[in-house]
């Protein structure tokens, strides 16, 4: 089954390669991986999409947790979540096609972010299936380039994947919060 795992990682050189190395060394699947620093500059957030039997994913979580650079790990698949991916797509748009492409982009709530007389570049966010759907309605010959970001995700509701010792308005008595 597909799992989406959110990880807080020490923002140190080498931390990313520890995670990537773990997947190749142990032969785990990795579908996508995104990383960026967080509001706390000492931490990075990694979102990782993997798949495997429950036993394998259980090992993946344990092995990831075992990495000394991993501060916190949450398997978002276990609960309700929001997933997003961003797509940048450059499409051939000439003559009469320009209107049609614009309409398709609007239907999918895309934004045209760059225009030349021969092409549009469209930005689209959503879950993977929405992006797949958009790509599938554009004729392959019109597609000049596709760039996808990989998935990021967050739990729905109040649950969060933050360091255990971090206080927030939800777990402190601070009236100002």
């Amino acid at each position: 089954m597909r799992h989406i795992i959110s990880i807080l990682l020490e923002n140190e050189a080498g931390a990313l390669s520890r995670v990537a190395g773990l997947f190749s060394a142990r032969g785990y699947n990795i579908a996508s991986l995104t990383v960026a620093p967080t509001e706390d500059p000492s931490l990075s957030r990694m979102t990782l999409v993997t798949s495997g039997s429950e036993d394998v994913v259980d090992q993946i979580r344990k092995q990831l947790n075992k990495l000394v650079d991993v501060v916190k790990l949450v398997d978002l698949t276990e609960n309700k979540r929001i997933e997003r991916e961003m797509l940048l797509i450059k499409v051939c748009a000439e003559g009469g096609e320009r209107d049609e492409i614009k309409r398709l982009s609007d239907i999918f709530r895309g934004r045209i972010i760059d225009v030349t007389e021969r092409a549009y570049t469209i930005e689209l966010t959503g879950d993977g299936s929405k992006l797949d759907a958009f790509i599938s309605v554009i004729h392959p010959r019109r597609i000049l380039e596709v760039v996808r970001s990989g998935v990021i995700g967050i739990a729905r509701g109040n649950a969060s994947c933050v360091p255990d010792d971090r206080s927030s308005c939800l777990n402190s008595n601070d009236p100002a919060a």
Binding site: S17, D55, K62, V68
Partner: protein, 571 residues
Amino acid sequence: MELTGAEIFVRCLRDEGVEYLFGYPGGAVLHIYDALYKQEEVKHILVRHEQGATHAADGYARSTGKPGVVLVTSGPGATNAVTGIATAYMDSVPLVVFTGQVMTHLIGDDAFQEVDAIGITRPCVKHNFMVKDVRDLAMIMRKAFHVATTGRPGPVVVDIPKDITAHKTDYVFPQDPSLRSYRPVTDGDPAVIRKAAELLLTAKRPMIYAGGGVILGNASSELTELVRWLGAPCTNTLMGLGAFAATDPLFVGMLGMHGTYEANMAMHECDVLLAVGARFDDRVTGDLDKFCPNARIIHIDIDPASIQKNVAVEIAVIGDARLVMRELLAALTASGRRLDAPALKAWWHRIDEWRGRHCLEYDRANTEVIKPQFVLETLYRLTKGDAFVTSDVGQHQMWAAQFYKFDRPRRWINSGGLGTMGFGLPAAIGVQLAHPQDTVACVTGEASIQMCIQELSTCKQYDLPIKIINLNNRYMGMVRQWQEFFYQSRYSHSYLEALPDFVKLAESYGHAGLRVDKPHDVEAALKEALGQRDRLVFLDFITDQTENVYPMIAAGAGHHEMHLATDRELA
């Protein structure tokens, strides 16, 4: 007062209580060597190859429970150390390995003797650090020792660019090395421990399978108490030998591929299995589909990743073996109940029948050729089971495990997980340094010993009176055995021609050497060697070339499908 990075390095080692530093110099670590020259607290042991340094530190660590410490230069120094680091990693041994690195501004330029030591060692360390600022050096070193020695122990590499060792800063020994991202769990969950006690109390055919984690966690006395309270049979893995006394009547021997008939049969027929500090390695389980078919399993391990990895278990207690077994025993005692006595009696009756097969029997009567088992039995008898025994990898390793009965932990020092030939001699160096008054025997084979033979020179330099027991069968015996069984005796490249004269070789390094080729000379030769308290003796036993290790479970077979010496035919 400001100190240089090199001076801080040495002060940190001193403040960590490091006795010995195993190392080999080179350009990138010359500032450190200069700082070492100016002090006497940390003793540097100069090996002859960096692999030897890591194995020696490893032997020191396994025999004492303290971390082994290594210093090597950049480039080839670091790559030579990798085999030893991987060996320690597979057996969860605490090492801290310092690798020199080229100057910070040269990193990435393919500078002279530059390798990416962090990248190369990443898959075989518990963690590694690169020092980028001299002000971080003391804290990183402290963290390295902390990570290496806590939780599931393991090797940690610290890569130090040369310029860092020249930069200056104030030195204070950091008090708190804790990391927010590293918090090993040691206390088991009390509710789960109670469930484990409940399950054990229902057992009619209990079995205890204890591994290296019991030794790593210094939990032998807790294990002994628990096993005796239960009155259950206990088996040890190759890494666990000595965790439970081999001469105790409750001990059924090692289990697994070359384990005893009684241990493996008891695994196959038990109804409740308690696994402690053992990782269900494939050499132990054999075919997983046939593993413990009747058992409900409890697993105690400090590493969550060891649990449910190879075998699904019903009750998993994550925690330190010592603390958890203490709680488990308390829960059992508090229950006011005992195991079903008649059932236990019947179970022991069954086990005694298996013991009656005498699976370790061999041709003792042979007066022509030396049987390797005989050498080890005699060594055991003469040392009263009290020696430290290091080993290399091969048949001799299995015979040592089978025939030397370890009653205490940390006496049996061998490479189980990686199976590194060349481990035995350098490991013995570390053991002998840590235990100068004790007998240290290195059981080896003529192929393995040649992989780190240069360390004979180190032994001379530091006057280490190690006893080398070379079981010389002129074959890579373990390889030959598999070729005999599984490749119709096509002995492809497993025969060793052009062997050196080991006696002369030992002598040329300044040691004593003795060749023994008749069974009736074995005892006298061992006595002679053990009597030489102040020098290394290399005993070259010319042994039976075609002896095989029995019992044996072929790959893909179950515990009940063992081959004993008496059935000869196999596979």
